[in-house]
Amino acid sequence: MAVENRFAHDRWEKRDGESVGTVSEIVTDPVSDWAADFSHLAPEWSADVYPILDDLRQRCPIARTERFGGGWLPTRYEDVAAIAHDTEHFSSRSVIMGNFRPPRDLAPIGGSPPITSDPPFHHDARKLLLPTFTKAAVGRREASTRALCHSLIDAFDGRDVVDAANDYAQHIPIRVIADLLGFPPEDGPQFRQFVKNRLEGINLPQQERVTRMSALFHYLLTQVNNHLENPRDDLTTFLINAELRGQKLQASHIVGTMMLLLIAGMDTTWSAIGASLWHLARNPEDRRRLVAEPELLPTAVEEFLRAYAPVTMARLVKQDMYFGGVDMKADDWILLSFPAANRDPAQFDRADDVIIDRQINQHAAFGLGIHRCLGSHLARMELRVALETWLERIPDFSLDDPSAVTWSTGQVRGPRMLPLRIGA
């Protein structure tokens, strides 16, 4: 079957790999002043971001950087919430703060609708996807997710030490997203690389970034073509057939949304599962309590999401404006740190303590306002099932070597190496 016209390569080559937009200078110097020169790529940020955020919240509270072409980092819950709700002054045209700004005319659609979309387009693009991600729809994936968790633990096969990040947590969202989109499950390692390129390749030279983005576009286009020839009951076929305002979706919209699901669904949930296991490995009283009282797990999951919120988003300032005591310029970045908001003592009692039976927990781990994480119910299900299964099968575990634990860099935070000693 011939490739449908809207997917013919030359029709959207221009967008392929970000060939238009603004590129700023790559700065990799160490950070000496977090209030005036912050960087979410600094090793201190990866190692332990919370003392940095707490310090800025007390003395700033909106930090500045000239890196990445200029940007701001609000650290109070109140400011993060206000910006997340204010789509009139802050655009989602790009949500990854780096050295590349897409052209202004990419709004209101953006490269990966609906996460990069602004109103009014955002509403319709999101509405299309909502039914796939309701609790009821997500619940139908629970049994297969649980079976996967069991098979991953079966594969530990008597080992004393396992890397919970790479041998367990990572595989869960990879499989869930591959099933959702109808991609070959054996492509998992490839997805992993695509996502890492996008999220952690921020300071690579522009040409290198473009080359890597092109590889992702071409992979997704191959999947689209495969689904055109062999339609099936999955989200890729759904997107190919979907209509928005009476028109089929543009190829760039379809591929952009697939890219969003791949990127937003994977490292985020991987991080949340890993950070929760890291916490339980270091806090035996919490671990023992959850083993004894599994019904507490949904409450504990909300607390892990608050305390170890994996996701930080970004916005671009639309026009020069005064906000929270600072003069923001058009096209300044906002690094929208939900982790910072979730540790604000003005919003949470004992904000830096992890209290697994916290009763009042208005956390913002999945964002606030119209961009509330589309996959939040999927993520919660994966996180709960992953922890439930782990605790049931492996009630006793601890960090094998705390110094061997490594954390990701950039806007998604979670353990990337997590050696756990299992068994009493």
């Binding site: 909502l130 309701t134 949904p298 208005q362 956390h363 999945f366 509330r372 939040s376």
Partner: protein, 66 residues
Amino acid sequence: MKVRIDAGLCQGHGRCSDLAPGLFGEDEEGYGKVLGDGMVPPEKEDDARRVALNCPEHAIELTQGT
């Protein structure tokens, strides 16, 4: 006590139906919905208060009376 969801504020976080599944559900797009007429039986009033305090969008309204 009566509960209501402000549809202009609800973003479908789903905390209400997680915490009080007897009082709240979700619609076909995942936004919160009040089950029945929204009247809260006395034994569920604490649940309703807890939901209101956990909604990240402050979308839950509680009113006293019948």
